[in-house]
Symmetry: C2
Subunit: 311 residues, 2 copies
């Protein structure tokens, strides 16, 4: 019998991976809020060079998890964007049964503990998407580049259910990397995200070329990245510090581009400040690690959010 999967928060990311899972033969349903009618009528239209252009019509298209029919799903995939005030546990509670594995496909660091505490008896799979995918119209999703997923069980291990989930995605065309230490992988991604994302919002907005184009810019980026390394190490997840140089050089070599947070800012959408930067800042405070550059960026982001909240 095919796996029953419920995707909660079917935005661009959820729709993209949901389409891949359905291609692999899974029984995929979605909970989506703002575009419910469009998706119910036509499903998702996915444009992707890698996966091909296709329509993804979920088995059940729901406005809330409590409407899910046929018993608890095998996997609940959480791909809601986490902004201040998002209560993910409440969003998924009605769909989580005793045997349901919860899969988080979300940005940020230290995003698992809240879910692990709310569902202590469920398997928790933490996944990071390395993908450039956007919603371009109601129900329409465009995949620009990448697509790989890194995943593992929280806090550490890779179970058979995780392998099965990865195998489905691979069958659906997604390259998966399984890891016994997904928390460290989150910190590795945070090393770039917690630095370039908030900086990119400054000066409304900066692309990676502006950021690394000023000599002071590169020094500041390196300082902030070393601070992320220090926090990660203090939480028991030391990073290879040569990553700092690799990330800087890699970013410099790529054509200038805008981060996801810069795009959110430009488009008036809420930014993932708290999971990408705020959680790193709180981890540093908890572990007594000095992070002056990250603290400055965090304070400036809260001022910018204050402005966008008032608009």
């Amino acid at each position: 019998m095919s796996e029953r999967i419920l995707i909660i928060g079917a935005g661009a990311i959820g729709a993209f991976y949901g389409a891949a899972l359905q291609t692999a033969g899974a029984n995929v349903s979605v909970v989506c809020r703002s575009e419910l009618d469009a998706v119910r009528a036509n499903g998702f239209s996915i444009e992707s060079k890698r996966l091909g252009n296709r329509t993804f019509k979920p088995v059940q298209t729901l406005g809330t998890a409590s409407d899910y029919q046929g018993g608890a799903p095998d996997y609940v995939v959480v791909s809601v964007k986490v902004v201040e005030g998002t209560d993910r546990a409440a969003l998924i509670r009605d769909a989580v049964g005793p045997g349901t594995a919860i899969v988080l496909i979300e940005n940020g660091v230290e995003i698992e503990a809240e879910i692990a505490q709310a569902f202590p008896d469920n398997e928790l799979i933490s996944a990071l998407a390395f993908v450039q995918v956007s919603r371009v119209a109601p129900g329409k999703v465009r995949h620009f580049a990448f697509g790989d997923l890194s995943l593992g069980n929280y806090p550490s291990s890779v179970t058979e259910r995780t392998k099965r989930f990865a195998a489905l995605l691979e069958t659906g065309g997604i390259k998966c990397t399984m890891t016994e230490d997904v928390v460290t992988v989150r910190w590795q991604k945070c090393l770039w995200n917690a630095v370039f994302n908030p900086i990119s919002v400054m000066g409304g907005v900066l692309d990676t070329g502006h950021i690394l184009g000023a000599p002071e810019g590169e020094l500041f980026v390196r300082q902030a990245m070393r601070e992320v390394c220090a926090v990660a190490a203090a939480t028991g997840h030391p990073l290879d510090e040569t990553l700092v140089g690799q990330y800087v050089e890699g970013t410099r070599k790529a054509p200038p581009y805008k981060t996801s947070m810069a795009l959110d800012y430009e488009n008036g959408r809420p930014m993932e400040t708290e999971v990408i930067l705020g959680n790193a800042v709180r981890a540093a405070r908890r572990e007594n690690v000095a992070i002056p550059a990250l603290e400055a960026l965090y304070a400036l982001m809260k001022m910018v959010e204050r402005k966008t909240a008032l608009i």
Copy 2:
């Protein structure tokens, strides 16, 4: 015989104080660049509630200091905006005679040494304008609020010529405060400017209400201000640290407004990053004072300038 005064860089500030000096009976000429033809034809039109609406027609309206006729002036007033690459000494050299006093009416800290070194035998008067005045059209200047000037000789003292200059301004309607320690007064003004100005450029742009509206914002402002106090103290100009709270509370009580740097940024004009913040940062590095918040702001400003330079 009336004092001969040459104002170099007759933008809004220079025109405003020049008008006051002329009202007091001085023989006032100007060097202006971009609006030379308009000013030659019609003089400056000044709109001001405090000083009245008036036309200020300089005795000589020049494109360069070397065209000044009738011997060296008694005072050369420098009111050019100081941005990266501005060589003020070169701009004024041809008009400075042995007996000329040089008056700087400019923003920033540590802006005097360069001129003192270039003209070691001339009296140097350093002045800070507390005024809200803008150029609204070629040759047209609008005075919105304030207008007071603080001034004293550099590095310290108040000479007869300084008193005479202040007396002229007072006669022309400008309230002057003379100080034996103008460098400390510069640091006092920097305490607000070096913090609120760069922050205001972030998130393109923030007004004082956004900045102080977020709790993290006020904490960051206070931290950055304490850093300015530490730098000022290290340079031999300790500030009363209760100023930090006074400035924060005073700013909070005023209606939200945009700093001069935010307005420059919005209007695509060069920003005074280097004299307002860069000089404070360099002083801190020279004196080995840790200023992580100011360093972060400075790095971010250089990235923003990188962007504006590329536009």
